[in-house]
Symmetry: C2
Subunit: 109 residues, 2 copies
């Protein structure tokens, strides 16, 4: 009854990508590098501690790079590995089209 | 610098699918319907309250269906909408291949 040719799911990758804030950060950085403050503004509703935590993890696994030109000029960039997560966002967008008008507007997760 | 033809991300769908346990449940149900206890065994590390919460949310948005043949015989099934989330899992698997040997073994999320 399997509906796709399924690969065994990789828990580590799912732990990394199965996270709302991580995916939001990837989405925002896909348009180009951003400073922490800009990211904080663009990622609606994130708090400073959560953003700091996610960026740290994403740097640790090599999905983003932190470039410090000076103490006041630090930017975050998607790495080639980080860009490989973009198809996950595309698949979420595809799902959205199907789910339109089906998902209740204020469902809780 | 955008690397894909990007659709605006749908926050509601990302809230639903950007969740480790929800995606684990979808993965397990993709092989066919399961009872609660079977799901609890297959979704490694999930606790009863979390599994109950995720199943309830997934039923509410129409991604899975709860079929109660008798009080002792309740199964959970992926709906056609739920199956539309499978490409997200496929994209995570693709990412895993790229991330192999890159992700540290015990990174924290």
């Amino acid at each position: 009854m399997s509906v796709t040719t399924k690969n065994p799911i990789c828990i580590d990758s799912l732990k990394m990508l199965g996270d709302f804030w991580t995916m939001m950060i990837i989405d925002k950085l896909s348009d180009g590098p951003l400073r922490f403050r800009d990211l904080e503004q663009k990622v609606n509703g994130v708090n400073t501690a959560t953003l700091t935590n996610r960026l740290k993890n994403m740097v640790a696994v090599g999905m983003i790079e932190r470039r410090e030109l000076s103490r006041a000029d630090v930017t975050y960039h998607l790495t080639p590995l980080g860009e490989k997560a973009l198809p996950v966002l595309d698949a979420v967008s595809e799902f959205s089209s199907a789910a339109k008008n089906i998902l209740p507007e204020n469902h809780s997760t």
